[in-house]
């Protein structure tokens, strides 16, 4: 810690000392900036002396005043959404400027990591999503907002749980055992991603990003090719997502915006399950088919089906959704600020499930003098996530409801919930209503994301910037399962007197970044921008856990009241990254553009010999439209061809895996040391070689723009726990073996179809990615996913197949004569055994994308957003219990079971029901379905109240809108929702539905008022 402060204080001293550099001779220039369209004044326009960092912004009346050094002659006027202009001063002292609205976004300045660039000068492949694309979507976290918005970015929400896990993949999956998540950077700080809670609730995780308020985000950049990403080197292989939060603008009148959103959520589609009578008939048939007497099993018509409980109804509800936000932004020529406070309360569609967040953000920038500026960004957030058990839990709430027999009731005659010990409490169903209402499963998370920076102009055009930040996440899991639940009441080994679990963990990342930037324009033709940097990242993970049982009573729910505190632990781990990086951009007349980027990264996760990795990239772009021979194509505004090549890496594995280690072990009450892993000093970075070509075109002054990209990426030195013979004393050694490739193409397209009073614009993006395991140097098949009846496992990793490949028997249909399932006897040995299992599909989509249409007319606007996925398969594992052909009578069955085979001659795809016959329920392609879907993701209709009316009540502007999400879905999928994944975050076993809560639809109204 001491060294960090030394480092910090050093640059502070540096900045103070060099503050005395002298100024040259200057000329004062003043003027006013107005809009070309209506002559109104334009506040907040940046006026910069070109080739320097001297700059001011126009005030609320559009006026500016700037000192121009004598040796400089050009002023650059720029602002978001306006076309930038370079104007020669030519010894004038008053320069008035008219600026036109940028129809296209090419002039927009885009953050590219440690630097920024105008969108038109980008040589790599990146996509930008601005806040107006998602500000009226009721999303909990920004990753959810990316869905369908950017080509090459696949976002899948794993379930309909508020604050639940979301999978983001940029250009496919590169890794088998290291993480496939992109690197997420908020204002320069790599932030905690994935789940925060350390207590599993059956497949689904929570989402660390739910702590970041999407309304504070100005824009999101997704870096996709090596040229754009290599500056993040070792962590960039899965793509980089840069989030820029809102900041105040110079000379902007302080505006205060208040926003309210209120709405309702409900499950998009309920599973179609049998009622008591239908199920009773089915179960009796299954028993008769097995030669048993159904009456002996207590299945008696008129008695057993006297109760008919719809369990899904019993555990679901309409959830209330509300969000309130107040923000203020403003600034003068020296200080700018953005301040916001947000409160969000979202009830899950499952009873007792809810998510609440409070957050506050302050971004402050100050210019001390013409050379020195500094500022801070600070976000504080706290979330309270009340979770319920899910998915792959026998006693889960939704999973329990899907599986529970309708013969049982959640309540007794007195209307009280049935609990363990009650004679009518069913051990086959665990009363999901009680499992939802009785336990306490709270995750309380607090995030502090803050940083301070200072920037100093050392020499003309040479700027030094240093930033120190922290991302501090504190997570507490506070769980208690009372005696009225399965876990606390009847679970073996717990003792039937309650179960309490309490964990507390802290994940903190400290990061210090120092960059030097030099930019210059020579002979008005050669533009050069060079950046050198150094970064240090130090991560600390602390965690503790304690479990207690045998509580005094259910009134005492904390572990201080436990009779036995039988498990506990605490741990501390550090990891670090030390990096040097550089970027050089050069262009000739903005016509030929080149970028060289590289990063040299050292990671604590690798041994001394292989600690540092080098990740270079190069890219070039040719602005064809600037060539003489293109002069005649008047409708073409811009045409640019891009190509890039480079390397990126992945280091996201556990710590200390290169070391041979011994860990703590116990024996008979004594503690000691036992071997835990075998050394691999040669363990190194996973490396991805990436090549990309792209074309950007813009026609009719930006009314039609499109971008196409094609790429081919190959990941080698795959980080993988390589199996070794057990005779070594160990089963595996972390190694670098195998190759995975991703090849694909992307298209983004946007048009302004009409723009005369009535405006209609369309954005479309399409992505195609082919993922393939090229080489896997392991002697045995790698099974993943769930253990499967009759076929080893549900998933496999095989060379030549993509990650996410489903494995199982091939179901050929139902024999019309016998009603039994027919499987393909692959090895033709006359028997159906696990050896007949084969590849039966994969979860990778062939094509996915989104389309947004926006219409506006006189203050009214309508946006319609579709999102789709085509060609992906879903493994409907729910059906192994809900269409189980009689293998067990403990589960309710789907309406699909009504189509079962019943008599010879029946042509159907559902085998006959026979009690305890597992053959017909073997894991097979019967459970693999087409998961393609087209979804009307969002419709928003809004009205901006006429300013004349609102100005009378001292309101600058007001907007009301209604918005609905997940309104309609077109799919062949027979389950509730094709867009779910029970193993949240998994790559090799993605796209499996197992009693997973479907997405929710939301309807809400919103009001936004600016003062």
């Amino acid at each position: 810690m001491r060294k960090r402060f030394t480092l910090l204080s050093c640059w502070l001293i540096l900045i103070l000392l060099s503050g005395s550099l002298a100024f040259g001779q200057t000329r004062r220039v003043t003027g006013r900036v107005t809009a070309t369209q209506d002559g109104s004044t334009l506040p907040g326009v940046n006026v910069v002396v070109k080739g320097t960092t001297i700059g001011v912004s126009t005030d609320s009346d559009g006026n500016y005043s700037i000192n121009v050094p004598d040796d400089k002659n050009i002023l650059t006027f720029s602002s978001i959404a306006l076309i930038s202009q370079d104007i020669p001063v030519n010894k004038r002292s008053v320069i008035n400027v008219k600026m036109a609205e940028a129809v296209n976004e090419l002039a927009q300045v885009v953050v590219t990591g440690y630097n920024s660039v105008q969108k038109k000068d980008i040589t790599g492949s990146m996509v930008s999503v601005t806040s107006d694309k998602f500000k009226e979507l009721p999303v909990t976290s920004f990753d959810q907002a990316l869905q369908g918005q950017a080509a090459g970015v696949l976002v899948t929400q794993s379930s309909g749980t508020p604050g639940g896990g979301i999978s983001v993949r940029v250009r496919g999956s590169t890794s088998i055992s290291a993480s496939n998540r992109p690197l997420f950077i908020v204002d320069g700080v790599p932030v905690e991603d994935g789940g925060l809670s350390s207590v599993g609730t059956g497949g689904q995780n929570d989402n660390a990003f739910a702590l970041l308020n999407p309304n504070d985000i100005e824009s999101i950049q997704i870096l996709k090719d090596a040229s754009a990403k290599a500056i993040y080197g070792s962590r960039a292989a899965n793509g980089v997502v840069l989030i820029t939060t809102k900041r105040g603008k110079n000379n902007e009148k302080t505006t205060i915006t208040a926003e309210v959103q209120r709405g309702m959520t409900e499950i998009i589609r309920k599973p179609r399950l049998l009622n008591s009578t239908e199920l009773l008939d089915l179960q009796r048939e299954a028993l008769v088919n097995a030669g048993q007497d159904p009456d002996k099993f207590g299945l008696i018509k008129g008695v057993t089906d006297a109760i008919n409980t719809d369990w899904v109804d019993a555990v679901t509800r309409r959830g209330l959704y509300q969000q309130y936000q107040v923000s203020a932004t403003g600034g003068n020529e020296r200080t700018r600020f953005y301040l916001s406070g947000n409160y969000r309360d979202e009830q899950g569609v499952l009873i007792a499930n809810s998510f609440q967040r409070m957050s506050g953000t302050l971004n402050l920038d100050h210019k001390a003098n013409s050379k020195l500026s500094f500022g801070t960004n600070l976000t504080l957030a706290r979330a309270m996530n009340k979770r319920v058990l899910g998915d792959n839990s026998l006693n889960g709430v939704y999973s329990g409801a899907v599986n529970s027999l309708p013969f049982f009731s959640p309540y007794n005659e007195l209307g009280q919930l049935l609990v363990p010990g009650d004679p009518n409490y069913s051990q086959r169903n665990y009363n999901p209503v009680g499992e939802a209402l009785f336990p306490r499963q709270n995750v309380i998370s607090v995030k502090v994301l803050g940083g301070i920076y200072a920037e100093y102009e050392l020499l003309d055009n040479l700027r030094f910037r240093s930033k120190a930040s922290i991302d501090y996440n504190s997570v507490i899991d506070d769980d208690y399962f009372p005696t009225t639940t399965w876990a606390g009441g009847i679970s073996e080994g717990v003792g039937g007197q309650g179960l309490g679990v309490y964990t507390a963990s802290v994940a903190a990342t400290f990061i210090n970044t120092n960059t030097l930037t030099y930019s210059a324009l020579f002979n008005e033709k050669h533009r050069l921008n060079v950046m050198l940097g150094h970064e240090l990242i130090n991560r600390t993970d602390r965690s503790s856990f304690v479990q207690g049982r045998l509580f005094t009573s259910d009134d005492f729910t904390y572990i201080s009241s436990a009779g036995v505190v039988d498990q506990g632990s605490s741990s501390l781990a550090n990891s670090g990254l030390l990096s040097f990086f550089g970027e050089a951009r050069y262009d000739f007349k903005e016509r030929y553009l080149f970028t060289l980027t590289s990063r040299y990264d050292g990671s604590s996760r690798f041994g001394r010999e292989r600690r540092f990795g080098f990740f270079p990239s190069a890219s070039a772009a040719w602005r064809i439209s600037s060539e003489e021979f293109m002069k005649n194509f008047r409708d073409l505004s811009d045409l640019k061809l891009r190509a890039s090549f480079g390397y990126t890496g992945n280091e996201r594995i556990g710590n200390f895996q290169f070391l041979g280690t011994w860990g703590a072990t116990t024996y008979s009450g004594s503690s000691g040391l036992g071997p835990s892993s075998v050394a691999n000093p040669l363990l190194q970075w996973e490396r991805t070689r990436e090549a990309n070509v792209g074309l950007d075109a813009s026609f009719f002054n930006g009314r039609l723009t499109f971008s196409v990209d094609a790429y081919s990426n190959l990941t080698d030195k795959l980080l993988f726990a390589q199996p070794i013979p057990l005779t070594t004393g160990f089963g595996a050694v972390q190694g670098n073996i195998g190759k995975v490739s991703n090849k694909g193409a992307e298209l983004s397209f946007s048009t302004i179809n009409m723009d005369k009073g009535f405006r209609w614009s369309t954005d479309l993006n399409l992505s195609h990615n082919v993922n393939k395991v090229v080489e896997l140097d392991t002697p045995e098949p790698l099974y993943r996913g769930y253990e499967a009846s009759g076929a080893t496992s549900t998933n496999i990793i095989l060379p030549g197949q993509p990650l996410g490949t489903f494995w199982g028997l091939k179901f050929l249909g139902v024999d019309p004569a016998t009603g039994d399932a027919i499987y393909e006897d692959k090895n033709q040995d006359g028997r159906i055994t696990p050896d007949d299992a084969q590849v039966i599909g994969n979860a990778q989509a062939k094509l996915f994308g989104g389309m947004t249409n926006r219409l506006s007319w006189k203050g009214f606007d309508l946006s319609v957003f579709f999102q789709f996925s085509y060609g992906n398969k879903v493994l409907n594992l729910t059906k192994t219990s809900t269409v189980n052909t009689g293998a067990s009578l403990d589960f309710n069955q789907s309406k699909d079971a009504l189509k079962r085979w019943q008599k010879p001659g029946d042509i159907t795809s559902i085998p006959r029901y026979e009690f305890e016959n597992t053959y017909n329920n073997y894991h097979s392609s019967r459970f693999v379905e087409d998961g393609s879907y087209l979804r009307l993701k969002n419709v928003t209709f809004g009205y901006n109240v006429n300013k004349k009316w609102v100005n009378r009540i001292k309101v600058t502007s007001a907007r009301v809108y209604v918005s609905a999400t997940n309104i309609w879905t077109l799919t062949q999928y027979s389950g509730s929702d094709p867009e779910v994944s029970t193993l949240d975050g998994s790559t090799s076993a993605q796209g499996i539905e197992l009693n997973t809560l479907p997405q929710v639809k939301t309807g809400m109204v919103g009001l936004s008022v600016t003062f």
């Binding site: 150094h534 130090n538 030390l578 600690r611 041979g660 280690t661 072990t665 036992g674 071997p675 004393g729």
Partner: protein
């Protein structure tokens, strides 16, 4: 400019000095290989590690010894146990691979100790001698289980990874010869001190192991001799009530017992399989045997719960393995009753049937404790059959039955009567499929029949 360069230089120096701290954070709950057993303080810690590794094997000796036999029926959902229950063991069975792994894990720790400890300075000579003896003893016992479970197995004598990645099978006789060497080394080096109890090995523990070793070798004289030495040492006494054996850890007759406390991570296997999940429930054949008049009190090994009786579930549960808080989660390796049974068998084989030094009197010791009638058999064959039955009553679910049936040549007769799927190949476990795939020297070296 110069000043600026100096700052940059200073900055770089500072950041480089923090480099080591950032890039080489200390592993806090791990110790790297090179530092283990380099200090005298490590000796007790590594000793615990050795026992901990060995302890894991003993869970699987129960899986092999009892689940392979006619004692159990499958009543669960796990595929591995369906294989044991229905006698259709495959080369990919997870437990077959787990036991193999734990055997070689123990061998690795033992070899590590044998390689490093002799040169380690500053260790009390007695402690060094004891740990070297224990490393030999537990390596020997691990290999003894390995050879009897899998037949020919690789003989691993070093920690060298390259050697051990490509190592062929050695003949079972070779392995057993090395086991004997290890036991003999242990016998001369281990302590005679009994104060650490049955959780740790001493000379009597080795004698008990040798008694079983010679019994398996059909060396009846030696088997009798070592069993007698243990019995006559008077260190161990029979519990008056058999229930103590079932429901308590460390009964007075325990010679070697693997201790579990509630902080032990991998303790629940047998409890989970037999009690929580009831993957395996007692077979009707065993229930009848334990409920017989000859067995009497030993019926406590299993219990009946009518509420569990449903469909194929007979409602019976094995009771020998509770949770750590129940106080009977330990796995017994050797106890005094087995010594009586070894001696009875060895004596019967030598024709010493009746009288104070005869087989019958040894069996009657156990019958008396179980409050059952004395043995009535008089001829050698009947007495040997009595020993076989007595081993069922006394040692059920302590990892003996399958090994006993195989060594006495009775496996085919008994098991074929029990299960239609039985096959002579099941007298040995297969070499785990993954080992054959990963270790080039094992290519094509599967046990016959698999």
């Amino acid at each position: 400019m110069t000043r600026f360069l100096i700052y940059i230089f200073l900055l770089s120096i500072l950041s480089l000095s923090s480099c080591k701290e950032v890039l080489e954070p200390p592993p806090r709950d791990l110790r790297i290989d090179d530092l283990v057993l380099k200090r005298a303080q490590d000796v007790p810690a590594v000793r615990v590690g050795l026992y901990s590794s060995f302890r894991a094997i003993t869970q699987y000796t129960v899986v092999a010894g009892d689940f392979m036999s006619d004692y159990v029926r499958y009543n669960g959902t796990f595929g591995d146990y369906r294989e044991f229950g229905t006698k259709q063991i495959t080369t990919t069975n997870g437990d077959v691979s787990a036991m193999w792994g734990y055997i070689y894990n123990t061998v690795y720790v033992a070899n590590f100790i044998l390689e490093r400890l002799p040169d380690l300075a500053g260790v009390q000579p007695a402690a060094k001698k004891q740990l070297l003896g224990e490393a030999h003893f537990l390596r020997g016992l691990a290999n003894f289980y390995g050879a009897n479970t899998y037949g020919d197995i690789p003989k691993v004598t070093t920690t060298d990874q390259v050697t051990n990645r490509n190592i062929p099978r050695a003949a079972k006789a070779d392995i057993l010869a090395s086991v004997l060497e290890d036991f003999q080394y242990a016998l001369t080096n281990l302590t005679t001190d009994q104060t650490e109890g049955a959780a740790y090995a001493n000379q009597n523990t080795v004698r008990a192991a040798l008694a079983r070793y010679y019994l398996y070798q059909k060396n009846w004289v030696q088997a009798e001799q070592f069993a007698s030495q243990v019995i006559d040492s008077k260190v161990y006494t029979l519990e008056p009530d058999f229930k103590t054996i079932v429901f308590n850890n460390f009964p007075k007759e325990s010679i070697f017992e693997m201790g579990y406390t509630q902080n032990d991570a991998n303790s629940p296997l047998l409890n989970n399989l037999l009690v929580t999940r009831r993957e395996m429930i007692p077979s009707e054949q065993l229930i009848q045997a334990l409920a017989s008049a000859e067995s009497k009190d030993r019926l406590a090994t299993i219990s009946f719960d009518a509420t569990k009786q449903r469909g194929n579930d007979n409602g019976w549960t094995v009771r020998k393995y509770g949770t750590a808080t129940d106080g009977n989660s330990n796995v017994v390796v050797f106890r005094l009753a087995e010594m009586y049974l070894i001696r009875a068998e060895a004596r019967a084989q030598q024709g010493k049937l009746a009288g104070a030094n005869g087989a019958v009197s040894d069996i009657n010791v156990l019958r008396a404790r179980a409050k059952a009638a004395n043995v009535s058999a008089t001829n050698q064959a009947d007495i040997l059959a009595t020993v076989e039955r007595e081993r069922q009553y006394e040692l059920a679910f302590e990892g003996h039955r399958w090994y006993d049936l195989v060594r006495t040549g009775r496996a085919q007769a008994v098991m074929s009567a029990f299960s239609p799927n039985w096959n002579a190949r099941y007298e040995r476990w297969p070499v785990p499929q993954t080992e054959i795939q990963r270790n080039p020297a094992l290519k094509g070296a599967q046990n016959p029949g698999y």
